[in-house]
Symmetry: C2
Subunit: 309 residues, 2 copies
């Protein structure tokens, strides 16, 4: 299995029960897979190592260019630093200072490209060509989805009574990787994607039956920046996802506070959307549910904002 | 071993590496034992279940009275609720609203007794007598120290290269239980207690060579409220602890922020003191160190306060 092929640097993150009230402790139906406790603070590092293993030594010597809203940046920069591979990350100007600082801290080179999320990949291709580096398309690369899938394998192994799995959706790679892995192991598990109300390109595309771009984007969940799903992930989403549901920013902030106060863990907004779908009643609450907390990389300012929302 | 006798409700909490900077990830010398991720948000529930197992059915029918600054209250209330035992907790008026609310949420009966920490136990004895309940002296009860010791056993098992162990100290029961367990297994491990500068009764007592009460108390660490160490714990502290070091409130707040931003976990001030001792350089940083994060029960207000300190 893919899980067995991850390096020891990757942590087997815990599955923690979530009781919205003290009186419910010990009788929880909601659990979180805490990938915010993963090294670099998100699941992305799994895919980074998985991809690097698929590249040849000459390719690794040339270095890697990719686009990221922040967590892939940190995961790849850490993996690259660890293995001596130069990493350049194309990032939006609106990326939080925290994520930029951490990316640089892990040794990645940050290249800001404005705020056009859809055309980031053309910048990736251009920089890779100019510098003779390897361009990675994080939206479409099948090798990354295999890395994401290891999260699903661990959840199935560690929670044998799983009935519903909730997963954040941006360009769809994470949901595609997890849904494919989990459905092949246990087709009875319901897998539901979650998006913010105003960052809902995959939701819109699923309803439309084809990849559709949104011309708005407004959410506290800066990690879910995709204005359209990737083509390859979308095929998997259509095939394996049972539904996509939407949550508001205030529901995301409420989930952040619940995870903080009751589980003692820190979720970034994008990492809290899946728990928010359960806690706000957007999905049925009477099934054994695991919500993926995909990351915990957020600034102090954003944390304070969510305390007060 | 005591660890093997804990009920399944008690979680085996993880040991997580702490890198103060992104560039240090993968080369950490500091690790935390994350008992804030324990059920009820602190290690106290281990001792609660351990003590309950030692009581007879008639004693359990009478119910239990104890004093607590908040975390024993939650641990005992949860254990009592789970096993159908009436729990009354004598608490200081200055206890945070969060801890009072959670205690009641777990089904415990809260009895406020003013703000005299040293005379709490006389209130415990009086209430127990009036109501025919069993009085527990959390400062002196040997059975509780056995429960605390299970934290130490797990740390030794899960971190084979442990050289220094840092433990928060209030009345000393936790430090006594852990130090006794760990030193018997591996006498080479250095065990250092940590107290806030102005909540340092055990530190003062250790220097004086006998149990000494302090006539001041001022710290953000509301969980470390003891104005003197317990007599029995003090004997173990004298015998097994290598030293006690002191940390300031701003060092505690800095440790809270480091654990928040880099480990994605929430420590209450009392739970952050051990990590603060390492991060502030109060102990040597070149040994493999585990700092116990003893709890994560804090209000949103206190969290915001520590963000801004």
């Amino acid at each position: 299995m893919a899980a067995a092929n991850l390096p020891v640097l990757i942590r087997r993150t815990p599955i923690l029960p979530v009781a919205p009230q003290a009186s419910e402790v010990g009788r929880e139906r909601l659990f979180v897979k805490a990938e915010n406790l993963q090294v670099t603070g998100s699941y992305k590092v799994r895919a980074a190592f998985t991809l690097i293993k698929h590249l040849s030594p000459p390719e690794l010597n040339r270095g890697i260019v990719l686009a990221s809203s922040g967590n892939f940046a940190q995961g790849f920069s850490y993996a690259g630093n660890w293995m001596g591979i130069h990493i350049v990350v194309i990032m939006l100007d609106r990326t939080s200072h925290f994520k930029l600082q951490e990316t640089a801290g892990y040794g990645g080179e940050v290249f800001l490209c404005g705020d056009d999320a859809i055309n980031r990949q053309s910048v990736v291709e251009r920089v890779a060509k100019e510098r003779g580096m390897v361009a990675i398309d994080t939206w479409e690369d099948r090798r990354l989805a295999i890395g994401h899938g290891t999260v699903g394998l661990e959840i199935v192994e560690d929670h044998p009574f799983l009935e519903t799995l909730l997963v954040p959706v941006s360009s769809g790679g994470l949901a595609a990787g997890i849904a494919t892995a989990v459905k092949e192991l246990n087709p009875k598990v319901k897998i539901i994607g979650v998006q913010p109300e105003r960052a809902n390109a995959a939701y819109v595309s699923l309803r439309a039956g084809s990849v559709t771009a949104i011309d708005y984007w407004d959410s506290i969940a800066d990690g879910l920046s995709a204005a359209q799903p990737g083509a390859l992930p979308f095929l998997h989403i259509q095939r394996y996802l049972d539904d996509i549901v939407l949550v508001s920013d205030s529901e995301i902030a409420h989930a952040f506070r619940t995870l903080f106060a009751r589980c003692k863990i820190v979720a970034e907004p994008a990492g809290a959307v899946a728990a928010a779908a359960y806690l706000s009643g957007k999905v049925t609450q009477d099934r054994n549910t695991v919500a993926l907390v995909s990351g915990g990389n957020l600034s102090r300012t954003m944390a304070k904002q969510m305390f007060d929302m």
